[in-house]
Symmetry: C2
Subunit: 324 residues, 2 copies
C-alpha cells in the first residue's frame, strides 16, 4: 500500500510531458487548426508542464511532406516559429521512430536546435537501432529517452534483456509504453517495479505513456507515479491515437506540486480541444477500443471501425476474435 | 502488491450488480424506451450478471407517479411484467432511500414479491433510519445491503462508528459508495481495507459503487475487487447520474469467472445503449464532472452545466471554487 503522504505531498522530480501534437497528430495527420500549436505552447508554459512534444522527426524520403501537417516532421524552423528562443522553463521534445527517421541528417547538433529531448520509439526487435539513435542524439548534446513499444505482447525475458542493453546506453529516461491499452493497474505496478529496478541499477529515470482503451490511462499513470515513475505523458482532452491517452487535465488535477496549474488547461480545452472535437475530429474511449485493449491487440482494426462509422460491435467482436 | 494469480484465476464469491435502470434512470427520470428493461433483463441473464437493480422504491406521497418512469417506484407488478416468475439465476434488487421510502407499506413480504435484495441508501446522519429499514426488510425475508453515501466528505471516526452500528445489524452487504467520483485508487485501497476489516469482524460482505468523474470508476472497482470486495456495481455503457458509473462491459471483460460473458453486453449496448446516447440522452465523463470529482463536491452543479449546454469550463471553475 502506498504512503498516504504521497497523496498530500509531492515528489519534486515528477516531470509532466505533453504529447498532444505527437500522439494527437495521429488522429488528424498532424493538421491542427491555425493558432493551435502556439496556444498549446502557451497553455503548457502557464500550466507548469515540463516538456512539450512537438511531433515526429519522420523521414522525408518515406513520408510526403505535402500529405501531413508540420508535426509529422517537426523541423527546427517550424518549432522556432512557435517557441521563438523558448525563454521559458518548458523543454521541447520530438519523437524519432527507429527505421523511420534520418537522424544523422535531420537531427542537428543541440547547439543549433530548439529541441531539448529526443524520444526514441522502438520495438523490442529494433533495440540495437534504438541504441545507435540514442548515442547519436546524446553525442549531439540532447537529453534522450527510449520508449519501448508493445511490451504487453512481449516475453518478460526479452523485456529484461532490452532493459539491460538500454541501461548500458547513455539514455536518460526509459519509458513504460502501454501501446494497446491492455494493461491493468495491478500489472502496471509489477512493470513499474521491474523498470524502476533497472532504472536504479543503471541510473536512469523511468517514464509512463498510457492509452485509454479500458479507461485506465489516468489510473495506470497515477499507479506508476505512486510506484516511483517520474516522467508522465499526457494529452489535453486525452487526444491521441484510437482511445487516446492520459488526460492532461486529470493529471494536473491529481499532482500536488504547486508549480502545476489546471486552469490554463481548462482554458485551452475550452478554446481549442472542445471545438476540435465538435468539428468532427474523433478520438477517445469507445467499445471498439475496449475490445482491442481487452484482447491485447493493436488498435488499427478499431481505428478502421471508427473511421467507417460502424456501430455493429457484435460483428466486430466476432471479426477480431475469429480463430481461423 | 496483489497476487498475480488474482489476474488469471478468479474469486467465486464475486457478485456483479447491474444498476443501469436505477442509476441510469437518474439521467432520464426513469423514462426508458419500450422494450429496454426486458432486453436489459435478458442481457443480464445471458451475461451471467448476479443481480439486476430495477430502480428505487420512492414514496408516492413525495413523488408524483405521473412525472417519472416505472423504475422510480419499482412496483412489484412492474417488475413481474418484465421478469415473470424470474426462473433464472439473476436476482432482483431495488433501492430504498432513508426518509424517501414508505417501506412499511410499499415493501411487501418477500414471499409476495419478485424482489430478492433491498439496497438501503443512507447518509451518515441517517444510520438509525437505515437500521430500521434493514431490520424491516430482513424480517420480511429479503437480502439487504447498506449503501453509505458521500463518505469522501466524512470523518474517518464517523465512518467507523457507522460501520460498527451497521455491522451489528442483520444486513448482508455493506457498500463503499464513491458518490462524488473523488476517490483515487490509492485511497480506495485504504477504504476497502477498513470496510473489509469490519466485514470480517461482523460477517458481512463488502460492495463497491463507483462514479466516473475522474475516469476512475472501473479502476476503483477492480482495485476494490483485488482488495477483497465482493459486490461490484456496474451499468451498461456506464450510464448513471452525471459522469456515470463503472462500465459493465469493462467489468465483464476483466472478470475471469467463465460464468461471465461480455458478448450479450455488447449486443445490448449495440441495440439499446448506443441508440439511447445517439437520441441525445446525456451522461458520462466530461470536464465539469472531473471538476466536481476533483473538488469532492456533489455533481448537481455539473449536471446543471450539462443540462444548460454550457461549455465555458473556465467560468464554471471559478463558480465552483469561489471562496466568498
Amino acid at each position: 500500500m502506498k504512503e498516504i503522504s504521497k497523496l498530500i505531498d509531492y515528489r519534486a522530480d515528477i516531470k509532466v510531458v505533453d504529447a498532444t501534437l505527437r500522439d494527437g497528430g495521429l488522429v488528424n495527420d498532424f493538421y491542427f487548426p491555425d493558432g493551435f500549436a502556439k496556444a498549446l505552447y502557451e497553455a503548457n508554459v502557464r500550466a507548469g508542464v515540463d516538456y512539450m512534444e512537438f511531433g515526429y522527426k519522420a523521414a522525408k524520403d518515406m513520408f510526403d511532406e505535402s500529405k501531413f501537417g508540420p508535426s509529422k516532421f517537426s523541423n527546427d524552423d517550424y518549432i522556432r516559429s512557435i517557441v521563438g528562443d523558448n525563454n521559458t522553463d518548458l523543454k521541447i521534445a520530438v519523437m524519432a521512430d527507429v527505421g523511420r527517421t534520418n537522424f544523422k541528417t535531420d537531427i542537428l547538433p543541440k547547439s543549433e536546435s530548439p529541441v531539448d529531448l529526443i524520444r526514441v520509439a522502438t520495438y523490442l526487435h529494433q533495440i540495437p537501432g534504438a541504441i545507435e539513435m540514442i548515442e547519436d542524439a546524446h553525442n549531439k548534446g540532447y537529453e534522450t529517452s527510449c520508449n519501448i513499444m508493445a511490451i504487453s505482447t512481449a516475453q518478460d525475458g526479452d523485456v529484461k534483456a532490452a532493459l539491460d542493453i538500454i541501461g548500458k546506453s547513455p539514455v536518460d529516461v526509459i519509458y513504460i509504453v502501454d501501446s494497446y491499452g491492455s494493461i491493468y493497474p495491478e500489472q502496471m505496478q509489477r512493470i513499474a517495479k521491474l523498470y524502476c529496478e533497472y532504472g536504479h541499477k543503471y541510473g536512469k529515470k523511468i517514464g509512463i505513456h498510457a492509452h485509454n482503451n479500458q479507461q485506465l490511462a489516468f489510473a495506470n499513470t497515477i499507479e506508476a507515479c505512486g510506484d516511483g515513475v517520474d516522467y508522465l505523458d499526457a494529452t489535453y482532452a486525452e487526444m491521441g491515437r484510437g482511445a487516446g491517452n492520459c488526460a492532461m487535465e486529470l493529471l494536473l488535477g491529481f499532482l500536488k506540486n504547486p508549480k502545476y496549474n489546471i486552469y490554463p488547461a481548462l482554458d485551452f480545452i475550452e478554446k481549442y480541444m472542445r471545438p476540435l472535437r465538435d468539428s468532427g475530429t474523433k478520438w477517445g474511449y469507445d467499445i471498439q477500443y475496449l475490445l482491442t485493449g481487452l484482447f491485447n491487440q493493436h488498435p488499427r482494426t478499431a481505428i478502421a471501425f471508427t473511421k467507417d462509422g460502424r456501430k455493429d460491435y457484435t460483428e466486430y467482436f466476432k471479426e477480431i476474435t475469429a480463430q481461423e
